[in-house]
């Protein structure tokens, strides 16, 4: 089905449309040069069922284009292609590790070449401000792929001094066919975080991209083909979670599934693995991350960082600092400054370079967040600013701040995933560690203080996969990231990120006479 609202329509494999956004008098035109189909074996396929689904521009609520919708049968096709690309003796299995690295490097180069276009497409499909997509998301994608390109021929097994007349060594082999299910909040970046380690270690991939934001991943698929990855190494299937995602999670011929998304769905993925073939599972799930401001912190810096920690990416970060614990002495001033800062936050057309905050990704998120704001008010939190809809079309929500939040309130316990800040008061360090850890989540945490002992004490005691000190949302391809408890298991990025994509094989050879 073609989109008749917009002007240019090209036949055959490419679906192209021109999109015009206008808000506050700014008009942005983005030509869609991506093939909105399934990418299997380096070819573009319709869904076997013929079904498509619309992807929407959240700044306007309008459909951008239709995308082929993968279901169980398409996942089967993709898994077959990935399995074939992984067979013993295949070009991908026979390739020097350093050449796998070179392909990843070339992919990074191609993305760098098309950075402006990819940032536009990301903004169109996801709603994040273009200035951020271009200066943060895309560069981080490039760095991640280059980082893992470098690991390909450096992920070494060991030789081991085993007892007895034996020579023993380990091989670091790829796991096999990896299912990867990625979310809509950082479409390009999440794709890179998944592809980087999986391909560096020699796996093949079946990736389901989020139905809200399939476009940039599909464009990257064309680059994957362009730079020369063999057929079937990367397969991308846009589709829905309960159909295509579930098909991957319970597939009997997928060796591993990596999922980033909600904790709720994470539970389902793990169950599906248990009831199918015990495929290896790694999960990056939700969070309700504590951001702890001590009275000796540099207050201006803490306010700005805390604002960024919550509101970045329209509040749609798994690691959002969504419980801001402020020490009693500085609480009032912190709240006042935070409110003032939130009021100044520029919400608008994502293609306007002055915009700090774009729309939420879709109607469902939009409704959910407004629902949480209602609950917050009802349960007695003090609404300091915002709280409502910010525009009359698209999914824009006002930057919202709640003060006097108590730990047992819904807005203090559940992940909102929107531009809603909770500020809570505390007295002592021991108290705040207990309160900060009193959650099923454990993704990130932060501490703002000048005192070296307090910084060490808190960073030691917080049960979170990443602890930031006097900063927030600092990421690097080199630094592992992942959750304690229900925020997930396993780590992505860094050298650690290679582990879950590796099967370790021990080879033990009898020798006539062992010597040290």
């Amino acid at each position: 089905m073609k989109n008749f609202i917009f002007i240019f329509i090209l036949p055959a494999l490419a679906l192209s449309a021109v999109c015009c956004l206008s808000a506050r008098g700014t008009c942005a035109v983005v030509a869609i040069r991506v093939s909105c189909h399934l990418f299997i074996n380096n070819e573009w396929h319709d869904a076997i069922s013929g079904k498509t689904f619309p992807t929407v521009n959240p700044a306007t609520g309008e459909v951008i284009c239709q995308v082929a919708e993968a279901d169980v049968a398409d996942v089967d096709k993709a898994v077959k292609a990935a399995r074939d690309a992984f067979r013993f003796g295949s070009p991908w299995r026979r390739m020097d590790a350093s050449d796998r690295g070179l392909l990843l490097s070339r992919l990074a180069d191609a993305i760098e070449r098309d950075a402006a276009y990819l940032a536009e497409l990301e903004t169109l499909d996801n709603g994040k401000p273009y200035a951020v997509a271009f200066s943060v998301d895309v560069p981080m994608v490039i760095k991640c792929l280059r980082y893992y390109a470098g690991w390909a021929d450096k992920w070494e097994g060991k030789t081991i001094p085993i007892d007895g007349d034996y020579f023993c060594y380990t091989r670091h082999e790829p796991v096999g066919v990896c299912g990867q299910i990625i979310p809509w909040n950082f479409p390009l970046l999440m794709q890179a975080w998944k592809l980087g380690p999986a391909l560096a270690t020699g796996n093949t991939v079946v990736m389901k991209v989020a139905e809200q934001t399939p476009l940039t991943a599909l464009y990257v698929a064309s680059l994957i083909k362009e730079v020369g990855f063999p057929d079937g190494v990367v397969n991308i299937v846009p589709g829905m979670g309960p159909t295509a995602g579930a098909a991957i999670a319970k597939h009997m011929d997928v060796d591993k599934v990596a999922f980033t998304g909600s904790t709720e769905v994470g539970h389902l993925i793990q169950q599906a693995s248990g009831s199918s073939n015990l495929k290896r599972v790694t999960l990056e799930l939700g969070g309700k991350s504590p951001n702890i401001i001590l009275s000796d912190a540099s207050l201006e810096d803490a306010v700005e960082q805390s604002h960024f920690a919550l509101f970045f990416n329209q509040g749609q970060c798994c690691c959002a600092g969504s419980r801001t614990y402020v020490q009693a002495d500085v609480y009032d001033e912190f709240v006042e400054r935070s409110v003032e800062r939130a009021r100044r936050r520029v919400v608008g057309n994502p293609f306007d370079l002055k915009t700090e905050q774009g729309p939420q990704v879709d109607q469902e998120q939009f409704n959910k967040i407004l629902g949480y704001i209602s609950v917050g008010k009802r349960e007695g939190a003090k609404l300091m600013c915002g709280g409502g809809v910010a525009a009359d079309r698209g999914y824009f929500i006002q930057p919202t701040v709640f003060g006097d939040v108590q730990d047992n309130m819904t807005i203090a316990r559940e992940e909102i995933f929107g531009p809603v800040m909770q500020i809570l008061k505390f007295k002592t360090l021991e108290e705040v560690i207990t309160r900060a850890n009193d959650t099923k989540y454990g993704l990130a945490a932060a501490v703002f203080t000048k005192d070296i002992d307090k910084a060490n004490y808190l960073s030691n005691g917080l049960r979170a996969g990443t602890v930031w000190i006097n900063c927030y949302d600092v990421f690097g391809a080199q630094a592992p990231f992942g959750g304690y408890k229900a925020s997930g298991n396993g780590r992505e990025l860094g050298e650690y990120g290679l582990e879950s994509y590796t099967e370790v094989k021990t080879v033990t050879i009898k020798v006539p006479q062992k010597n040290s």
Binding site: S98, G150, W151, D153, K154, N460, V511, P512
Partner: protein, 494 residues
């Protein structure tokens, strides 16, 4: 004609590279650089001596100072610069192979397909390591938080030989820069040209001034100045064992700078009766004759199991007689000239001692042609372990073939050397392969192959073949200083 054309059109700047600038030598002296295929001079290059080394050390020290651009740079960005350098070498690989061939006498096609590729891959490999050099956080006893930083050592002096000028440049620059050091590199006086071109690419890639400094010059002057400099933190030397000893002494006498050495070898290549004969003959041939015999890894003691000895000798001689010696730019050439008149003479003298000590000269033995420094591929059989040609590194196209009876005997004879760089064993039997490879006192052991080197694999010598390892992850520790930081903690918890 080729020399003339290149001299006047395409050579890199022929001076000293300090602080991303081209400088004349302080003394004004220059030295000549030759084409060993003809003996003709190619050009003259500014000659660095102690005063120039001092200047370069100052530049490198400044570039290394706390707060400098290089010290403040993200590790991943250091990696990007190395990756860019690799891309530039790839861009100019035909040109570089041409100059390398012209200056060193190596045949052009192998230089393009082997040396250049290895150079590019080495730079790319170490580019990838820059932001993967991890320290540790450590569960120490007591109320402490402890972690280690892997810091660059500082100013590194690097002295490289003439047998693989480009590759040796990459082997040295790669890890040193990946770890964040600054460098003074002295190429061999015989072969400075490709290294100087790399300097131009270093600047083009965007390395900050002073990070890489290149000083063409001689060992006893510039090289010695580096080895004994009081403000150089580490010296890495690849060359002869004889000079390696001098470097180590100089380090001990001066400031105890860290020393790594890649020196000579007299490498055993052990052929069992059950080996694939065709493979073994060809690999043994290439193993000793590659690069006109001018490899520290040359398999220059070939131990052949008695039952197949005669056949092996016969086939090796036949192969050696077929080896094509000629102009490096002739695509059919397998073997170019030796690097210089002096080296050619030395090799010919070794051949004479072989003859006079009673080894059987099967083929070759003489200089070839009137111009340049060519030597016929030479094979000796009936070589005894106590002959000079069996003990000393010849570094020329001279193959020694010995006979052995048992595995225990050959292990002992193979290890009976002050050297210990590489060894090889050819056999189909898994037990013999495991036994011999475990027993060899050598930094690299090849099984059913020879000269199988790759940037991921650590390479270096046992005993007087050197110390330390290059390539692979191992070499990173030669270019880092590990600092332990221990911080008092309140209430340590696991």
């Amino acid at each position: 004609h080729l020399t003339h054309t290149l001299t006047h059109t395409y050579l890199p700047p022929l001076s000293i590279f300090i602080n991303n600038e081209w400088q004349d030598s302080v003394s004004g002296k220059v030295f000549s650089v030759y084409n060993p295929a003809t003996g003709e001079q190619i050009c003259e290059v500014q000659e660095a001596d102690k005063a120039d080394v001092d200047k370069a050390v100052q530049a490198a020290r400044l570039a290394f100072s706390l707060g400098s651009v290089w010290r403040r740079m993200d590790a991943s960005e250091r990696g990007r610069l190395l990756a860019k350098l690799a891309d530039l070498v790839e861009r100019d690989s035909i040109y570089l192979a041409t100059i390398e061939s012209l200056n060193s006498g190596k045949p052009f096609l192998p230089t393009l397909f082997v040396d250049l590729q290895a150079t590019i891959k080495t730079l790319r490999y170490f580019a990838g390591y820059a932001d993967k050099i991890h320290g540790a956080s450590i569960p120490m006893d007591g109320e402490y938080l402890t972690f280690t930083r892997h810091e660059p050592i500082g100013v590194c002096g690097q002295i490289i030989p003439w047998n693989f000028p480009l590759m040796m440049t990459a082997w040295k620059l790669g890890p040193a820069l990946s770890c964040g050091n600054t460098v003074l590199l002295k190429p061999a006086e015989e072969t400075p040209l490709t290294c100087l071109y790399i300097a131009a690419l270093v600047k083009e890639a965007g390395f900050p001034p002073g990070v890489v400094n290149i000083l063409p010059g001689f060992g006893p002057t510039a090289g010695a100045a580096i080895a004994s400099h009081m403000d150089i933190d580490k010296v890495a030397f690849t060359g002869s064992t004889e000079v390696g000893k001098l470097i180590q002494e100089a380090a001990g006498k001066s400031n105890l700078k860290r020393v790594t050495l890649e020196l000579g070898g007299k490498n055993p290549n052990i052929i069992f009766a059950d080996a694939d004969m065709d493979l073994a003959v060809e690999q043994a041939h290439q193993g000793v004759f590659f690069n006109a015999g001018q490899c520290c890894t040359a398999g220059s003691r070939i131990y052949v199991e008695e039952p197949i000895y005669d056949e092996f000798v016969r086939r090796s001689v036949e192969r050696a007689k077929r080896r094509i010696v000629g102009s490096p730019f002739d695509p059919t050439t397998e073997q170019g000239p030796q690097i210089s008149r002096e080296h050619q003479t030395r090799v010919l003298e070794f051949i004479q001692t072989g003859i006079s000590e009673g080894a059987k000269l099967e083929c070759g033995g003489k200089a070839l042609g009137l111009k340049g420094f060519f030597i016929e591929p030479t094979v000796f059989s009936s070589v005894r372990d106590d002959m000079i040609i069996a003990k000393e590194e010849i570094f020329g196209p001279v193959q020694q073939i010995m006979k052995f009876k048992t595995i225990e005997e050959v292990i002992e004879r193979a290890n009976n050397s002050d050297y210990g760089l590489v060894a090889a064993v050819f056999t189909n039997n898994i037990n013999k392969a495991m036994t011999v490879s475990t027993a060899m006192q050598a930094g690299t052991v090849w099984i059913n192959c020879f000269n199988a080197l790759s940037t991921q694999c650590p390479f270096g010598g046992y005993k007087m073949s050197g110390n330390g390892r290059e390539l692979g992850e191992s070499c990173l520790r030669e270019y880092t200083e590990e600092k332990t930081i221990t911080m008092k903690m309140v209430n340590k918890n696991s």
